[in-house]
Amino acid sequence: MTNKETKEKTEEIFSGAQRLISSAVNVLEEEIAAGILAAKKIEKKVIDVEDIRSDPSDLLNRIRRDTHEAVDLFLDAFTAISKQVQNLASLNTDKETKKEEAPVSKATANNGAIVLEADHPVKPGETVSFCFSLLEDTEEVTKLELKKTNLIGQSNHTIHSRALKITPRKVQLIPNEEQEITIDLVVPKNAVPDQYNAFITSASPHAIKVVLHVEVTND
């Protein structure tokens, strides 16, 4: 085969490959677009956005109801922690009062307090994991170290904080970086059944407030 023939053959192969890849990419992009459109249509059918928008009071009530539940849990945890931290002992722990106070506390709950609840009761000796993400949405690099409290039961039982393992404990986030934090709780074999809460925090100015809630049961 002469150089010219080799060159022509190479060009033919290149052209054939280019045409094929281009055709394949077009098909892929069409299908991805079709998939996105279909998903949006389903979402529109399943969640009637217009209907929700037409009744803003109902929407607001739903948000309030969800927030109340979250705030209740948050305050339960906070109350438990207050038993451990003496300078918070004066907080009002009355359940009814909490309901009344909830709108006031909503800002606290919305401004950084995350409530993570184990989705099923765990037995002594078992492990349960909690996860959340940190997103650096400013233009700064953030360094923080997460701290943990003991788990305090509603009946004053305690699980030592060493049962909690935070991974990673020290975090450095660059702008727009998201980092997942995993907290593993190995429930001690001698743990007493109770509803436990723990508090995961970081020092200011990058305040992180996470409440962990878990039910330990022998059943």
Partner: protein
């Protein structure tokens, strides 16, 4: 990396996945017509391609094998569930050198076994929450949901073509069908899921779409070629079986688009018959025509071009990853496709 190391890594990941699958199969009755049969196809020994890609992508992005195991188990269980149902839909006789499940039992039992495998694949998916956390596990769940939908849509396309005896299909139709039927669940989702796990959800999984698509299409075309020119013992399915089943392969589409009108009518008439009435002699005649019109050579080139496209995508995506055996494994799978001899 040598091909033998590539095969041994795939075998290792496949074996770990199989061990996991066996753990998820309930040890209880009914065994004879359900749980023993659930274990049948996975234990016949496949290539371990899907779990291999998933685990390798996870590790290439810094994750641990154990983090990806449940997802790999889910993918392999679903793959085998698809095979059980596909074999019934395609009226296939052999799978991995043994009678297909419905041939060895009956279609009703095989359908039920396939259903059970699909349900069992949910367990490892659910368990992901404990290992990966809610956020990453939810991402993996959504990937699997999408993968199943794409696959059944692709299967519907091909079954529809066969039912309507479509004979005027083009290359782009094939590329679309194979994208949906094969690529999502063979390459795209295993890579996407592995990378999601390896990066703890930090990566945009769409990054892998072209790579997985080119790989998957090349893989499927080569598999279809082997059905025509491979040795039955090595291939594990009846040779020319795809022609008898009327499968719209790239070679058949090429032949129908290039043969003479009289030949076109003969092939169309063959495909219009019920599968049981299609003879092996007629199938071999069609294979001869495919050779005559260079349909197989063209398909080999197409597979090679696509594998080349996959390699380019691979270098562009994985250049950011450290040099690891798992990164080399993915690269070698693509190189193997490019250099494949039949």
């Amino acid at each position: 990396m040598s091909n033998s190391l590539m095969k041994s890594m795939l075998a290792e990941y496949g074996a770990a996945t199989l061990e996991g699958i066996n753990k998820y199969i309930p040890d209880k009755e009914p065994r004879k017509y359900l749980y023993d049969l659930v274990a049948d196809y996975p234990n016949r020994g496949g290539k371990g391609f899907r779990p291999g890609l998933c685990i390798a992508a996870c590790k290439a992005y810094g994750g641990k094998q154990s983090d990806a195991m449940d997802s790999a188990i889910c993918l392999e269980l679903l793959h085998n569930a698809f095979l059980v149902h596909d074999d019934i839909e395609d009226e296939s006789f052999f799978r991995r050198n043994k009678p297909t499940l419905h041939e060895a039992n009956n279609s009703a039992i095989a359908i039920n076994v396939g259903d059970a495998m699909q349900v069992l694949s949910l367990s490892p998916l659910y368990r992901n929450r404990e290992i990966l956390g809610d956020r990453v596990a939810t991402k993996v769940y959504l990937e699997v949901q999408r993968m199943i939908l794409e696959s059944v849509e692709g299967q519907a396309m091909e079954l529809g073509w066969r039912k309507d005896n479509m004979c005027d299909l083009k290359e782009a139709d094939y590329l679309r069908m194979i994208l949906k039927k094969t690529c999502w669940y063979t390459c795209m989702q295993p890579l996407r899921i592995g990378a999601i796990i390896g990066t703890r959800g930090q990566i945009d999984p769409d990054t892998f779409d072209r790579l997985g698509y080119f790989m998957g299409t090349s893989f499927q075309i080569q598999d279809d070629i082997l059905n025509l020119v491979g040795e039955e013992d090595k291939y594990g399915k009846e040779v020319c079986g795809d022609i008898i089943e009327g499968k719209r392969t790239l070679m058949l589409i090429h032949l129908l688009g290039n043969c003479k009108p009289a030949e076109f009518r003969d092939v169309r008439s063959f495909l219009a018959n019920p599968i049981k009435d299609r003879s092996i002699e007629d199938a071999r005649s069609i294979l001869e025509l495919m050779h005559q019109y260079d349909s197989i050579e063209q398909a080999k080139k197409t597979a090679q071009y696509l594998a080349g496209g996959a390699l380019k995508e691979f270098y562009s995506i994985f250049s950011k990853c450290h040099e690891t055996q798992d990164k080399a494994l993915i690269e070698n799978i693509i190189l193997y496709m490019i250099n494949r001899e039949y």
